[in-house]
């Protein structure tokens, strides 16, 4: 019916005994080869969605289609999906190669073809030399890779990853992030992964779905989500922001409480109340003028390339990320002026006054 590879429609899950649904009318569609991230705070229903797609739990209502075919009634072991669990779930009584071969064995792949396939999968995740090891003798990162090889060797229609990196230390996480992304684009497998780490979602996914309380708040490319968040929740969840609300006094201009006039580039009717946001990195040091706020530096955090500072203006805090190569840097207590171009002000919502 469409060229979409995976289609999820109005998926609902209410756990027995629960008053409110854990997943509430979730819909999205994925073209072949795309990587979608489900991002949201703990308990918002990400794992529940993944497990419904996998067939490990039954949806209360809604449809899941793979290649245009409804699969809600297909049992788990016939769905041909790969899953990487948060705790890896490697079989402790088998070797690394045994774990990877398991799926092929279940598919009745003859022994002679199994060996080379397993070896290729292990080579892909750089575990080629460890096939005979017991999985209990692998490091965290190696277990992770073994789990990925095991889920990919069966050439799944869809790869599902549930917080695949959360058990790894920061350095390994960055490495595996690139590696998973690389493997995914090389194999061209369609993938959905769950995370509550915004950096992970922004850097790995082709598109991301930001969730809250069982609902998808916004779905789009990382860029769209970051630069044009649909609402305050999305804006606040992805990246930091200075949220400013005020009344529109003239086309493209609002009076912000405590700060004064701010020009922005979005249509909003005069007299209405608007919610605006300025990302910290959009502020620049400038001379006093329009769209600029002057205040005293209250705190400074030096982060190498970036200097994060907070100033107080009219009783409120504004935070800014400044590039450290931009001339002399302000010190604590200095009076500085932060300016933002009207085009860099994010318009979030408008309500009649």
């Amino acid at each position: 019916m469409s060229e979409h590879h995976v289609v999820v429609e109005n998926l609902v899950k209410t756990y027995p005994g629960a008053a409110t649904p854990s997943v509430d009318h979730v819909s999205f569609a994925l073209p072949k080869g795309e990587m979608l991230a489900l991002l949201g705070p703990s308990g918002c229903g990400k794992t529940t969605i993944l497990r419904m797609i996998a067939g490990l739990i039954e949806p209360t209502s809604g449809a899941i289609q793979l290649n245009g075919r409804e699969i809600s009634q297909t049992p788990v072991h016939k769905r041909n999906m790969g899953m990487v669990f948060q705790a890896y779930a490697l079989f402790p009584h088998m070797t690394v190669a045994g774990n990877v071969a398991f799926g092929l064995e279940m598919r009745g792949v003859p022994n002679s073809e199994r060996g080379p396939k397993v070896q290729r999968a292990l080579d892909m995740v750089k575990l080629g030399h460890l096939g005979d090891r017991r999985v209990t003798q692998l490091s965290g990162g190696q277990q992770q890779r073994c789990a990925i090889a095991r889920s990919l060797v069966i050439e799944p229609e869809l790869l599902l990853l549930d917080e695949p990196l959360s058990n790894l230390d920061a350095k390994l996480r960055d490495e595996m992030r690139d590696e998973i992304r690389e493997i995914q684009s090389r194999t061209g497998v369609t993938a959905i992964f769950v995370t509550h780490d915004q950096d992970e979602a922004l850097s790995m996914a082709d598109r991301l779905a930001v969730m809250s309380a069982g609902r998808i708040e916004q779905i789009g490319t990382p860029r769209e989500i970051f630069d044009a968040p649909a609402n305050e929740f999305v804006a606040g969840f992805i990246g930091a922001g200075n949220f400013l609300s005020g009344r529109v006094t003239a086309p493209g201009q609002a009076e912000i409480e405590g700060l004064g006039p701010l020009r922005f580039a979005a249509p909003a009717s005069v007299g209405s109340r608007v919610q605006l946001m300025v990302r910290p990195h959009r502020f620049k040091l400038a001379a006093p003028g329009p769209n600029a706020f002057t205040g005293q530096v209250e705190s400074l955090v030096y982060r190498g390339q970036i200097l994060t500072l907070a100033i107080t203006v009219g009783g409120r805090r504004l935070t800014a990320d400044l590039h450290t190569h931009a001339g002399t840097l302000p010190a604590k207590g200095d009076t500085v002026t932060l300016a933002v171009a009207p085009g860099d002000v994010t318009f979030l919502s408008e309500a009649a006054a």
């Binding site: 788990v76 072991h77 899953m83 009584h93 398991f102 799926g103 598919r107 069966i154």
Partner: protein, 291 residues
């Protein structure tokens, strides 16, 4: 050995002293209740005097008697076969129960587990009498069969190996269940999910994942039941009605009826040797499984 010694070497002198003091009560208790009787038993089995362990000279005649008399060989074989049969059936019957209790997510799980091992609250003697009431010639089963005119003569269900086996299986099942529950630590529902995602049907998940991972628990349960079954005395004696000869009943016979203590001691030592070798072989196998 070196691995175990390493932490001890790091201990400071006073720590080691403390450790020794803490171990003393336990060691003393073990000495008096286990080690001394063992020494006494071993000495008695070589004694020429029939009533006192340390009196009389040393002789091998009781071992000679125990090991050359075909009757005792038959008794040993009986004991082994009873042990194997009882552990086989106790494990087969306990496994589904233990598996269910481990995997259940119901809030009644704790209650059910307690119920499964509740029979341990009554003594084996009481439960054996219970089985006599059920399986006896005038017991529940036979009187039912007769009142329905299905049989005229009672069906022999007790006073034989069958009765002893049935009663022992039931009496030892709670031990098997407990041992299995303790040995099922590697079972993990997520592994089953992973296997079915990889294409394994329910049946294959059981054969390839659940069974191998629960094998250590099964083997521990089997070992425990086996050891308890071959050393059992009350149940084979009561349910066997004097017609079931196992090492436990024979030791009792020699010690209290024939009053041949050295022979009873020699038989006990043979029984002990049997135990220990089974346990050693078993633990080897278990360790290999868990490696």
């Amino acid at each position: 050995m070196s691995g175990a010694a390493a932490p001890a070497q790091q201990m400071t002198g006073s720590n080691r002293y403390m450790l020794l003091i803490l171990l003393v009560p336990g060691l003393l208790a073990l000495m008096t209740t286990f080690l001394l009787p063992m020494v006494w038993l071993a000495r008695a089995s070589f004694s020429t005097s029939s009533m006192s362990a340390f009196g009389g000279g040393v002789t091998l005649e009781h071992y000679h008697a125990a090991l050359t008399d075909p009757f005792y060989w038959k008794v040993a074989m009986n004991t082994l076969s009873l042990g194997v049969t009882v552990s086989f059936f106790a494990v087969i019957l306990s496994y589904p129960i233990a598996l269910f209790l481990t995997r259940s997510t119901s809030r009644w799980r704790g209650v059910l587990t307690a119920l499964a091992v509740a029979p341990l609250l009554t003594s084996a003697v009481v439960r054996t009498y219970g089985w006599m009431v059920i399986l006896g010639d005038r017991g529940v089963i036979n009187s039912t069969l007769q009142s329905l005119s299905l049989t005229t003569d009672p069906v022999r269900l007790s006073n034989n190996t069958f009765g002893a086996t049935v009663a022992l299986v039931e009496i030892l099942m709670p031990y098997a269940i407990l041992a299995m529950l303790a040995g099922f630590g590697r079972l993990n529902p997520q592994l089953e999910e992973a296997a079915s995602m990889l294409g394994a049907s329910k049946l294959r998940v059981f054969w390839r994942i659940i069974l191998p991972l629960s094998l250590p628990g099964i083997l521990t349960g089997a070992l425990l039941v086996f050891v308890l079954a071959i050393s059992a005395f009350v149940t084979p004696r009561l349910m066997g009605g004097g017609r079931v000869f196992v090492l436990g009943t024979e030791v009792f016979q020699e010690a209290t009826v024939t009053l041949n203590w050295p022979l009873a001691a020699a038989l006990s030592v043979v029984l002990l040797a049997l135990f220990s070798s089974v346990i050693v072989i078993y633990q080897r196998a278990l360790r290999r499984l868990e490696a």
